[in-house]
């Protein structure tokens, strides 16, 4: 075995003296090792040449394995270094879908994710997302979608920021009290990420405008605070075949699901055919809500949105996740379509 190393070293030294390029010298030495491995594998046990070159192929194969790992690691490290250096070079935002150096740096932690990568970030850069409600759920959903680089974010809400909202609606600030929530949210999102386009709609989502509004977006997030809006958003999303990410909460508990008619799953009304009688399902204002709960569910909505947009992982399609904050429990149930559903049932 030592003999082989000696020959390899001699070849390397000779190449260095004769000024042979490094690449060719690596090739020659690799060729030598390959020949030795072949000899070890082909010659019978005890053959003199085999004795001379190290008796067993296993050791050589092991060495080859280590060599391969070292080469791949080296490539990986230098590749990552090149990526980081690239990202560090500043540059203006490039139109037409290509990322500027600043954007590459900003989204570097996304781009290194195997499930997202450059293609996923590019899909985000082309995504048009509508968020219904700029309240507790909308606040983190909007902030994270803007930070994540979703291209166009629409937000519809007819409320103004109130003092009592600020215990949980973290996109708004004390100085925003009295301002329409959609404008306060727009300011915060643009301050977070100037690359996103925010479209604020300071009005209630109604039957008259819903279809036209939804048509401008690929994906709808429902973080509204009343059943009328929830059923309306579901009807229009089903009619247009658009995924609806629905989050809701009460006191200490939240629910989240992705209703996506394109995947033959159920819709919101399959699961909840009727709203409870007025007064039986209190709103946040009446029942109270623990401040960080909308942060949990709203952030999950943004995460599900990113998964739906980029195709990463498995969104909560046909599933509902229940988060019980008071006991720190999550439960998940499989949902089913109802054939007699008036919204999505077989017609």
């Amino acid at each position: 075995m030592l003999l082989v190393f000696a020959v390899a070293a001699a070849l390397w030294g000779l190449g260095w003296v004769l000024d042979v390029p490094r690449r060719s010298r690596i090739g020659v030495v690799a060729g030598l090792f390959l020949v030795v491995i072949c000899l070890q594998l082909l010659l019978p046990d005890g053959h003199p040449v085999r004795e001379m070159t190290g008796t067993s192929p296993a050791l050589w194969l092991l060495l080859a394995g280590f060599g391969a790992v070292a080469v791949f690691y080296g490539r990986f490290v230098s590749g990552m270094r090149a990526k980081v250096l690239n990202a560090e070079r500043e540059g203006p935002a490039k139109p037409g879908g290509a990322f500027s150096d600043t954007e590459l740096e900003r989204y570097a932690r996304h781009i290194v994710l195997r499930e997202l990568g450059g293609p996923g970030q590019k899909r985000l850069k082309q995504a048009r997302v509508l968020v219904i409600g700029a309240g507790g759920l909308g606040a983190p959903a909007l902030q994270y979608l803007a930070a994540a680089g979703a291209a166009t974010i629409g937000v519809i809400d007819d409320d103004v920021v109130e003092n009592a909202n600020l215990q949980r609606q973290v996109i708004h600030r004390d100085a925003d009290i009295g301002m329409p929530k959609v404008f306060s949210a727009k300011q915060a999102m643009e301050a977070q990420n100037p690359n996103v386009v925010v479209r604020p709609y300071h009005r209630r989502l109604t039957e008259e405008i819903a279809a036209e509004l939804f048509a401008d977006y690929d994906l709808i997030l429902d973080g509204s605070d009343n059943f009328d809006t929830r059923y309306l958003a579901n009807r229009v999303a089903v009619a247009q075949g658009k995924p609806l990410i629905s989050g809701a909460l009460s006191q200490w508990e939240g629910q989240i699901s992705v209703f996506d008619p394109q995947f033959a799953g159920p819709c919101y009304q399959c699961i909840f055919p009727e709203a409870p009688a007025a007064g039986l399902a209190p709103s946040c204002a009446e029942a109270g809500v623990i401040g960080p709960l909308p942060g949990v569910i709203g952030s999950m909505m943004a995460l599900e949105a990113i998964k739906v947009i980029t195709g990463a992982g498995a969104p909560l399609r046909g599933e509902m996740l229940i988060y019980d904050g008071l006991y720190g429990e999550t439960r998940k149930i499989a949902l089913k379509r109802r054939d007699d559903c008036p919204v999505c049932g077989a017609a």
Binding site: N226, E253, L335
Partner: protein, 64 residues
């Protein structure tokens, strides 16, 4: 019979899902799941419960 309702074990007299809803004081307008699978309202009367079943009773929530 011992049934787990919304994560809490409890002793119940009900033998079907619809009886359980009545026993726990729920009106009809809730979504239900048994052992993590959704059960539509029309299937509740016939759905017999077994000891140790995990039942989820979900009231629709409007809060956002």
């Amino acid at each position: 019979m011992k049934i787990i309702v919304n994560g809490d074990p409890r002793e119940v007299a009900a033998t079907t899902l619809s009886e359980l809803l009545a026993e726990c004081g729920y009106s009809g307008r809730v979504a239900t799941a048994v052992n993590e699978v959704f059960v539509g309202s029309s299937a509740r009367i016939d759905l017999a419960l077994a000891d140790g079943d995990r039942v989820e009773i979900l009231a629709p929530m409007q809060g956002g």
